[in-house]
């Protein structure tokens, strides 16, 4: 039964993840049947590559630190304070996470770049500095910290702190001795996730980094598509693979620690109206950070897209005479939606089956190992997936180069881990004895799933689909490798427009980004209404 559930996901990941990765290994380290492990050392000791490795690591560390610094107070505010408009603010904070990286790139370009808002006001440009990258990373990962840490914080029983107070601890000591230790694993898990996302950052660095700054991910893309040095690209992918694997292993460990028994309570009862100058100041500063860092860039983006009179940039999207594309850019909207629907369907089937298998109480070591494996595509980065598809699926026995399904498959691979992460906690929460009760009443295993599990997880399934849809729609790293030039997706079209000079191209990029943002934000807001469990891992 369990093996039956696992068969499809295992086959999917073997074929579309393991095999491409194996192809990368072979491409990087093997020539004419001989293995050259020395190539790894050769590549990573090159000065330009060492520079990339160093930059990738420190910008990720800096981004993580900055995100924690700005988002932890917000986590507290969402967990413990009750104020009007909290639901709305929660949605606003979450929107950036599901936005495509190119949208964030465009938004920060419009805010900090040449002719941007900051440039107009003070003559300062940040788009050629590392600050643009760091701020964009905070923009994305703010929600990761707020949701992971704040979600748990809201459920910690305040009476634990009160008990410490009654035993003579000052408020600060009580927090430090009682709350902080309980939160620490969640903070660690969130920090690792942020590190992972920023370590493998692609779209943001590609757009904001200019020629100076390049992460591993960008370098892999450059080596593949500009230098055509596939061997170096493959070695870099392996280095990234190893780094990500290490981070994920630590993450899995902290998550397990997080599952140790904490007294959790209903989050709706722990929040109080702000009291005293301290709490009001904290609330105000969090609101300011959210306004400046999360809302302003998107507002500027929309504003810039409207710069041309009579919605000129939007109307230009419907014409194919810009020279950048063979088809009108707006066609990319339709292409993206089709791909995203197909990718969502694949990701939900694969992810739900995997989650159902993983959720079973008797899941053994092997299956739990698969759990960690499922996370790999998430961390291993989209560029790896795209690059792997490019070199593995372009010849018999599996030649998908000409097939439209290639892009949805890659997007599904990136989206499936989100489906698993969303479904798994809900499935695990279904009391196993409910299933047993149904079985004793005569329900076969299949009917147990349909009659007991499905009604309970229907909402989670919808939420997961929405996530997968948003992820697929905004997917850039993998798609940029394999999307056909005559059929670009929205993010690919935005990136291509941004790479061309001229006011019209820039404006069209802003307009397309705005469209993409609206679609993704709409998907998310629908989800927020459906979402019951606010402690998910994303």
């Amino acid at each position: 039964m369990r093996l039956g559930l696992m068969a499809l996901p295992v086959a999917f990941f073997a074929l579309f993840f393991a095999w491409p990765v194996a192809a990368i290994v072979a491409r990087g380290l093997e020539t004419d049947g001989a293995w050259h492990l020395g190539r790894i050392a050769d590549v990573v000791t090159r000065p330009d590559i060492r520079h990339v490795l160093w930059f990738t690591t420190w910008q990720a560390l800096a981004s993580t630190a900055l995100t924690l610094l700005l988002a932890l107070p917000a986590g507290y505010v969402f967990a413990r304070l009750d104020f009007p408009g909290k639901q709305l603010l929660r949605a606003v904070v979450t929107v950036p996470f599901v936005l495509p990286t190119v949208v964030a790139g465009s938004a920060f370009l419009a805010l900090l770049g040449r002719g941007g808002l900051l440039d107009e006001l003070s003559g300062v440009r940040l788009d050629t500095t590392v600050w643009a990258i760091l701020l964009a990373h905070v923009f994305f990962n703010f929600a990761v910290v707020v949701r992971t840490v704040g979600g748990l914080w809201a459920q910690l029983d305040p009476r634990q702190e009160e008990a410490a107070r009654m035993l003579g601890a000052s408020p600060l000591t009580a927090w430090r001795r009682v709350t902080l230790p309980a939160l620490a694993p969640a903070v660690a898990a969130a920090a690792l996730m942020v590190f992972l996302f920023t370590f493998t950052s692609f779209g943001v660095v590609q757009i904001l980094g200019g020629p100076t700054f390049s992460t591993l991910e960008v370098e892999i893309y450059r080596q593949t598509s500009e230098v055509f040095d596939l061997s170096t690209a493959a070695v870099l992918t392996l280095v990234q693979f190893a780094a990500v694997g290490a981070v994920l292993a630590v993450h899995a460990w902290t998550v397990r620690r997080r599952e140790t028994a904490l007294r959790l309570v209903d989050p709706t009862v722990t929040a109080r109206r702000p009291r005293g100058a301290g709490q009001w100041t904290l609330l105000a500063s969090v609101l300011v950070v959210v306004a400046l860092l999360l809302v302003l860039p998107l507002a500027v983006l929309v504003r810039r897209s409207l710069d041309a009179p009579g919605l000129g940039y939007y109307r230009a999207l419907t014409r194919a005479d810009g020279g950048t594309f063979l088809v009108a850019p707006v066609h990319a909207v339709w292409t993206s939606l089709q791909y995203a629907v197909a990718a969502t369907a694949i990701a939900v089937v694969i992810g739900a089956l995997a989650a159902a298998a993983l959720a079973r109480r008797d899941a053994g070591r092997l299956v739990r190992g698969f759990d960690a494996l499922l996370m790999l595509p998430l961390g291993v980065s989209a560029v790896t997936v795209g690059f792997g598809f490019l070199i593995a699926l372009d010849r018999p026995p599996l030649d998908l180069r000409q097939s439209w399904i290639l892009v949805p498959l890659a997007q599904a691979l990136v989206g499936a881990p989100f489906v698993v992460r969303t479904m798994l906690p809900v499935l695990r929460a279904v009391d196993v004895r409910l299933r047993e009760a149904a079985a004793v009443l005569g329900a076969s295993p299949w009917r147990v799933w349909r009659e007991v599990d499905l009604p309970l997880v229907r909402r989670a399934l919808l939420v997961a689909s929405g996530f997968a849809f948003a992820v697929s729609l905004g997917e850039f790293g993998a798609t940029v490798f394999i999307a056909r030039p005559d059929n670009p997706t929205l993010p690919v079209a935005v990136a291509r427009l941004l790479s061309r000079p001229g006011e019209l191209n820039y404006g069209q990029a802003m307009a397309l980004s705005t469209i993409l943002m609206v679609v993704c934000a709409a998907a998310l807001l629908v989800l927020e209404r459906l979402r019951t469990d606010r402690t998910g891992e994303f």
């Binding site: 009391d431 004895r433 409910l434 047993e436 009760a437 149904a438 079985a439 004793v440 009443l441 005569g442 329900a443 076969s444 295993p445 009917r447 009659e451 007991v452 009604p455 309970l456």
Partner: protein, 339 residues
Amino acid sequence: MLLSLDEATVRFGGRAVLDAVALDVAEHEVVCVLGPSGSGKSTLLRAVAGLQPLSGGRVVLGGRDQAGVPAHRRGVGLMFQDHQLFPQRDVGANVAFGLRMHGVAKGERDAEVSRLLGLVGLPGAARRAVASLSGGEQQRVALARALAPRPRLLMLDEPLGQLDRSLRERLVVELRELFGRLGTTVLAVTHDQSEAFALADRVVVMRDGRIAQSGTPLEVWQRPADAFVARFLGFENVVPATVAGTAADSPWGKLPVPDGSAQGRRTVLVRPAGVRLVSADQGLACTVTARTFKGTHVAVHLQPADGPRVEAACPLRDAPEPGASVGVEFDVAETVVLD
């Protein structure tokens, strides 16, 4: 036999939770398995239901070995300890669930649901939400749900465990009447002896995965098989003794035992009603350490100068104060030699 367990064994890790258990349940019989938590009684039910695979031995239902038969094809009912009603369905849909699984047509199903709800004392509750039910109502719905597919064997896991005392006492009588009327074959487990004695034709006491004693409630009550069963039934006056003829030499001195008792080193039980308080200069000298009000009588706890404590049952008015010195005599009619 409707149900036969033959050397049924379940091991978790190295530990045998069910250790070569042999148990028969005849048609229309109500059997109650009684034991402390961890004695393996719930595992027994799960093994019969097919929810827990056996490590050894056999479960035979209606003459057929159930090895390899999945839970949904065994045709037995199980009422879970905390009911496990389906939260997203209303009362009627919960009761109808098993009927749907067995392909009963809609019209027939609805009629059956209202009949069953009437039977358990909840007529017209079909459209109610499960969350709106009280504990006792949930229990009734769970019972109706388990009865609906007409299982050949109905199993109850701590059927009244979570209910308050007065409700429990009322429901146990109702259940007993209902099973008698329907002729249902029942295998129930409980840790509550009064529940078991009130419900069962036959009581099976379990200890550490093995059957310690099996018999009618009267037999088990009158002649506990060993010190464990006696103490589990709530008897405290259990002492080792050497029996010779109609007297036993015990830490409490010479005890009179019935004619024909087993001889030699034994365990002797004196029920509290057989402990008579007399004036301080007679019998075994004791000090009263505590007394607890039991409604119909007072339990008086006594400490002899030497040997374990003794519990006596006293009429309400005659109970001595704590600290008082009394003498104790033992009544042969309430004394049993165990083992």
